[in-house]
Symmetry: C2
Subunit: 260 residues, 2 copies
Amino acid sequence: MESEIRERRIRLTVAYDGTNYHGWQIQDNGVTVESELNRALGELLGVPVKVEGASRTDAGVHAMGNVAVFDTASRMAAEKFAYALNHRLPEDIRILRSEEVPSDWHPRRVNSRKTYEYRIYRGEFPMPLKRLYTHFTYRPLDVERMRRAAQYLVGEHDFRSFCQTGAQVQSTVRTVYSLELEEQGPELVIRVCGNGFLYNMVRILAGTLMEVGQGKREPESMPDVLEARQRGAAGPTAPACGLTLVGYEFLQHFPQNFPN
Amino acid sequence: MESEIRERRIRLTVAYDGTNYHGWQIQDNGVTVESELNRALGELLGVPVKVEGASRTDAGVHAMGNVAVFDTASRMAAEKFAYALNHRLPEDIRILRSEEVPSDWHPRRVNSRKTYEYRIYRGEFPMPLKRLYTHFTYRPLDVERMRRAAQYLVGEHDFRSFCQTGAQVQSTVRTVYSLELEEQGPELVIRVCGNGFLYNMVRILAGTLMEVGQGKREPESMPDVLEARQRGAAGPTAPACGLTLVGYEFLQHFPQNFPN
């Protein structure tokens, strides 16, 4: 009599250079991070496998710590998946950690803190070594003005003005725990931590703060931008290459209330 | 009666991502930084132009401030060459500055201070966003040991042990003004400033210091390595991708004694 095959759920922490991918989510055409992970897992395990990702990053967006889960009956030690998958992945995708989680754990159905960085390179000309991971601007930015504007965006707000139109979500209320600007020489890093982000929200935050830094908007106008609850009230969507998903902090390991 | 066409000498400060180039110097096959600069200048000026570079960096080595000169009868304002050339160069090469220099000024015939950085990424797995500009190691490095070893290498020494064999030079004596190790999170930066560097010298310095950091060599063995005056006494040549020529400081604008 055969014993039942118990499937385990494995969680992957995934880093990637998004430059050469059509984003995370599987597309009809074009290679994506998700399709590469499924391919590598299929090759490793000999059966079709589908990962479920935490964040479906857009084309060109990078990650140092996106998260995905999959189920498998394989008896391989959970921490070995990172090594085995890295052998089968291109060098612009790396599994940084693999571990077993409860079988009902899902990265989009738990409370979490998510951190993004948006990097701006300031100079007369772009720096080739930074071109893939920063957004270049030759326009001067008043960082103190940007910091003043950022303060208005921290907290629980309806961020509908910072959501790409057409996105389907139940609620556009999100909590931004922190929104900091750090100067690293010619690079200006906008670092934002929140319980969740609407579609293109970080890139629209970055585009809006850049307009504040250029003197096109007043820092004190941010409450009005939030209040307007329409995309047109905020600034442009900053380019994808400047954005990196830094990582997740999961607040508990069982399903709970979560935004959206 | 025609007035004589006076040629001016223009100095370019050049940054590049060396990933996709066969180094600086023109090769029989393969695109180089020098060949791209000559092509762009030829397109801009309508006549063949040949630049003379300060440092002939190897395949895969990066630069934030290499230097080149060329002569031209063009009346274009010197500072405009940067803009005009950047329009004609691929985005992994950028001219950061263009300026007129005396017609006998040559970047390899003046005293200069040259700064290189060798970047090491330390972790269990490589970080995709850093893979092109750092050398990855999962082996622990004792940075304090590396700092102690570095102290022995500062000053005027015969660096023949740190010179790739086969290189033809008059003298292998060089002065290292400073050799510092800086930790930037998971990145370890070896920053070295000197009056000149032998072929592969910085990469051999990095490879040797890494062996010290791994406990394979004693910091106090560095005087013996110098004394040996043979390549086999030093450590391996660290990979090209970790190396970046940060820049030059020219100590005067007229020809003088210079190493080699």
